[in-house]
Assembly symmetry: none
Homo-oligomer: 409 residues x 2
């Protein structure tokens, strides 16, 4: 089955709304093992919507639309579908009744627009919408399946879950299983080179790398007649990839790097405190994003001024004067200092030049040092990065998290 | 000019990424007065990308793509465009040089994939990418304009702003000017009610509110034969809106709330220090996102444990015991404490229950207190919010910034 998603709505074409519906449906279809080759967006315009149906049915056998089922004149997804498929619009008594009830409950009159929401192309399977007034429907016509869903995510998501997934599952002869590995501390290109032969030689499972804001992910997806068989196909490929990438793989699925670090700290009973300069709390904020971190995260310090580095962390004024605030020596004293004052097992420090100004030849923008002191042993990592202030700072927080992870492991 | 946006990337078809690029570009095109009738999404597949180009050029005269300019084999937007338009791929020396420099700076070798990023369809206008390794380009062919942009938003947004907007402006017979007001501290519905008559009665300029992650924005856009005339149309509507919304308007255009606060602090010569609990550094990280904050931001403390609240900020153990860590009293002592230890004009504190666990009847999830002490006078704000841990924490940091802004003004 080849699917296509059409989102209908002028607000999407004007950039007033982000098309999160397409993303949600696309992911659900992928989970069902149904290929989507195209998505499109079209405005509230009969002629262009007709054209979108024509193109979609020329290349797909399952078309799913979102939007245009409302009560206004602009809402015409159902009507254009009926016209496209040469079907009459007929009343659906049950829907009309529940629309009437919906308005009666709120003490409002039912107008023609609302009544329109109870009409469907002849032969459609009508799916009641418990959240709003726009029922969804499925139209089966020759080899074509057309599914019309309302636009608001809080309406179409429950409809998709309740009716569409079970409906589509009937047409699947295979079960599709996928597993995602999260990678950090390595560039996408470099990682791809390390597993290029695996990516290229695999067809079932398929192996696909993606670059995200904070990590690279590798999706391993297999189709088989049972879940167990699909998992059996994935297992050897997964272990091959894990062997190659080793410590670069930090977790599976939706888990974040901070969650992995937090769980490691909790598991090993190691307490931690942070001392940040240019990142200004990004590292601590990521750690504290993990609920339950309170048993291991003790405190953090944003020692942005030299003064506070000395007063709060005991960094020696001579060190700051001789080596500068952005130096291996300062990072070391910061990490050791925060560990000492907080009385934790681990002290982590970040100091760097986030820019865009303030760079010098000796300390250019993007230069930073991350220090980690575990039970008295201190290691320092030197970083050179580039980009905006925001990007440099976020990458530093990410690198620091990864540094902590590797040192605990 | 009729535009069409094609987003290229299998990750979009698999629902792994939301197509925020289409939304951004669509909005910018609308600002320029350029109509977009369709958007589409296609995977990393030469044949289907070719088909997408064919359909788009059959109905639009401006096609803008995002994605597929990276170094891997899967990245083929440029190559398929060249093939579609019957153009040779030729090296672009300047781009090749800057790619080489990019990798040299990081001590990494340049591989064939990276080199590919320096090749373009013959005759293309190459637009240097200062953020990543994928330059963008514009291809003009007969009546067709094709603009290829990289996929990562942090790369394509600055490219669009710097090069594409001025390029497209040349083709407009009207000048379109828009102004954005940023609003915070009020709900979208409430704000809309306050200016509903202005929104409804305006056609040129148009007035449109949008809800963003950290603020609500109001876009006032006018078309006229000159920039001055458009600005003259905008001015009275803007001042009417500002009159109605008063202090809720915190700034114009791309300025962030933290930048407004930072500039106010610098202008008034007020130094600041922060004490955060559940936000864990989100407030300090936002302030430090502003370059030049070092003259006023002295230090921050993440006093996550009760112990650290007492040791670092001098919060009395009795206060914690009697009123709890999440209380007006604790927020007050935290704000006053950080101001005292840091020796600043302003001390700000945040303490709350971010959830998802740890809520009690007395201190439910979402309850928080923000304290601000300016020159000895302390005010406390009580907040009740809901949603995920992440959402609660981010809203608290935002509310704290707005609280600081109002108190300084």
């Amino acid at each position: 089955m080849k699917a296509e998603i059409i989102a209908v709505g002028t607000e999407l074409l004007l950039g007033e709304t982000v098309n999160t519906n397409a993303q949600y449906i696309a992911r659900e279809l992928a989970n069902l093992g149904i290929d989507t080759y195209y998505q499109s967006v079209v405005g509230d315009n009969a002629e262009r919507l007709h054209e979108a149906y024509k193109i979609a049915f020329g290349r797909a056998d399952l078309v799913i639309t979102t939007g245009g089922l409302g009560p206004t004149k602009d809402d015409m997804t159902k009507e254009v579908a009926a016209q496209f498929l040469n079907k009459k619009m007929v009343p659906h008594e049950e829907s009309l009744k529940s629309i009437k009830e919906f308005f009666a409950k709120r003490g409002l009159p039912v107008n023609d627009g609302n009544r329109k929401q109870g009409y469907f192309p002849e032969g459609a399977i009508v799916l009641p919408n418990s959240v709003g007034t726009a029922p969804a429907c499925i139209i089966e016509d020759k080899n074509i399946k057309l599914i019309l869903l309302p636009g608001p995510p809080r309406e179409n998501k429950p409809l998709f879950k309740t009716y569409i997934i079970p409906y589509l599952q009937k047409y699947r002869d295979k079960v599709f299983v996928s597993k995602t590995l999260n990678v950090t501390g390595i560039g996408e290109g470099q990682m791809e080179e390390m597993i290029m032969d695996i990516i290229e030689n695999q067809t079932n499972p398929t192996v696909a790398p993606y670059s995200r804001a904070r990590a690279i992910t590798i999706r391993i997806a297999a189709g088989a007649s049972t879940r167990e068989e699909a998992e059996r196909l994935i297992a050897p490929v997964e272990s091959q990839i894990r062997d190659r990438l080793g410590i670069y793989v930090y977790g599976e699925g939706d888990i974040s790097l901070e969650a992995v670090v937090a769980e490691l700290l909790i598991e090993k009973g190691l307490t931690i405190a942070t001392a940040e300069s240019c990142t200004g709390g990004l590292l601590s904020a990521r750690l504290i994003n993990y609920p339950g971190i309170s048993s291991v995260f003790m405190e953090g310090v944003i020692s942005y001024s030299n003064q506070s580095k000395t007063r709060l962390l005991g960094v020696k004024p001579e060190t700051l004067e001789k080596h500068g605030a952005v130096s291996e020596e300062t990072a070391k004293e910061m990490a050791e200092g925060i560990r000492k004052v907080a009385g934790t097992d681990i002290g982590v420090s970040i100091t760097g030049v986030a820019g865009p100004d303030g760079g010098t030849e000796r300390h250019p923008v993007g230069l930073a040092y991350i220090g980690i002191c575990i039970n008295g042993v201190t290691k320092i990592k030197k970083i050179n990065s580039s980009g905006s202030r925001n990007r440099i700072r976020n990458r530093l927080a990410n690198t620091a998290l990864d540094f902590i992870r590797r040192e605990i492991l």
